[in-house]
Amino acid sequence: MSLLEVAGLTAGHGLLVACQNISFSLEAGEVLALVGANGAGKTTLLRSLAGAHRPSQGQISFAGANITGLPAHRRTALGIALVPEGRRLFTDMTVLENLQIARAAKRTGDWDLASVLDALPQLKSILTRRAGEISGGQQQATAIGRALMTNPRLLLLDELSLGLSPIAVEGVYAVLPRLIEAGIAIILVEQDLRRAMATAHRLICMLEGQIMVQGPSGSLTREAVTAAYFGLNRQAA
């Protein structure tokens, strides 16, 4: 039994269909990269998995249970955590409070304040600062820390590098190997193809709401993924 199974998922915004008939599965501890151009439906797919967006069709199963109709906080309690696009931190609260709030998920495990700060040492010196005042890289690290505090089995990372300087991106990505080592399954939305293929076990490339190509990172060539990314050879795909 896979950790996550998505079958025939269709979701949209009003009349606009953002992702259509998406099916895939994810094993425990597996890292899946989701690539595709802007508007390909990656964020909507991730939000649907986290319960922040209600899909119009399809089914989502997590650890064998059908979670399609569950609200976000119930999914967090089951072990799904989303680091949302734009971070969505509680900007008027301190970094420490942003981390502490995730205790509401009432999940226990390896991740507590000490281990989160150990994995994200850049947060140690800014715990008492307001989340709205810190740099983008620090904000992203806080958002990852907040998600980790819920002790997720599945971590959904939406465009960690968006709006960050290259140095800040490196700082944020430095934590990934540790999460993978800890056995957390990860779905990673990433624009940087090279980074996606280097980090993930498996890769899905989306275009206009549909899966164009998927497979183990090693079996896909950069050219094939690029072609799918831009919708070249659409007939062939």
């Binding site: 986290a50 922040a52 906080h73 969505r88 509401a104």
Partner: protein
């Protein structure tokens, strides 16, 4: 000396306004809802206390402990039945819905109790007129001092709860971004019910204070709403400390106005409210330009 006395009386009166405004300020801070039924709910609390006192023959200070749980229950029903449903409909719907509730409450109270004015003053013994004299010209009413102390304890307590406890963090997080709160494992609906219950308890205490320090009748809610609203706006919306300051400023303005001419009491308060509003619109966060800039600033900040 008369001015010093009036200043002191104004501060004490401000304590009452702050108490009356606490629930309104809290609900606005947490849900961005301007509860137009606020004053009517305070009057409802006063009538509930009146019924309890008459049925059980107890003092309002004892009846209060029965009235507050009933108000908490009303808060739960009010939240789930009205606010929660109207919140998703944009800012206008909660405004209209709570306005409707205020009309409904006022007229239900009128149908049950008629137009007679009521007061707890006869039921609280010497507290209603007792005072401490300081020198020759300053008298501090014991009831006003009690109400001021209650407002202070309530607002400081709420502030500590919001800043120091996990429940407070949950309430603040839900206020800032309900979806992000939900993604962090909170049930925003439940948090809002808790917040509404807390607001209603504050309104209950305010309603008891209203009945003790003056009289009330079924249509008294409108005036209480206006005082509360003015205190919240003067002090800065959504800040509990600001609400205390706002209440005191309103109280001082009214008392100073009354010293000049008794007819100027109400209008002085309103003028201060309007002046503060104008200054805030020009300089503060309510300024339209700032507001638009804040709205249009991209959410992604570069490192």
């Amino acid at each position: 000396m008369i001015w010093l006395n009036q200043l002191l009386q104004g501060i004490l009166l401000g304590g009452y306004y702050a108490l009356m405004a606490a629930g309104l300020s809290f609900l606005f801070g947490v849900m961005r809802v301007i509860n137009l039924a606020h004053g009517s709910l305070a009057v409802l609390a006063a009538f509930l206390l009146l019924m309890i006192d008459h049925w059980l023959g107890v003092s309002p200070f004892i009846g209060l402990w029965l009235m507050l749980p009933i108000m908490a229950l009303i808060g739960m029903v009010f939240q789930l039945g009205i606010l929660e449903r109207s919140l998703s409909g944009g800012p206008l719907i909660p405004l209209l819905a709570t306005f409707g509730v205020s009309l409904l409450l006022d007229n239900i109270l009128f149908a049950i109790f008629g137009a007679n004015t009521q007061s707890f003053a006869p039921d609280i013994g010497s507290l209603s007129y007792g005072s401490w004299a300081i020198g020759h010209s300053i008298d501090i009413s014991q009831l006003d001092a009690l109400i001021f102390a209650t407002a202070l304890v309530l607002l400081v307590g709420m502030h500590l709860l919001l800043t120091r406890s996990q429940l407070g963090r949950m309430i603040r997080a839900t206020a800032i971004d309900a979806e992000a709160a939900s993604l962090s494992g909170l049930d925003p609906r439940r948090v809002r019910v808790v917040a509404s219950v807390m607001a209603m308890i504050m309104i209950g205490v305010a309603g008891a204070a209203l009945g003790m320090r003056s009289s009330f009748e079924p249509y008294a809610g409108g005036a209480q709403l206006i005082y509360a609203f003015e205190a919240v706006v003067i002090g800065g919306t959504g800040s509990l400390w600001g609400t205390l300051i706002g209440g005191i400023m309103l109280g001082i303005a009214q008392n100073m106005g009354a010293t000049i001419n008794p007819h100027l009491s109400q209008i002085s308060g309103h003028v201060v409210f309007l002046l503060v509003l104008l200054v805030r619109m020009r300089m503060g966060s309510l300024r339209l330009g700032n507001f638009l800039r804040k709205r249009m600033r991209p959410s992604v900040v570069s490192a």
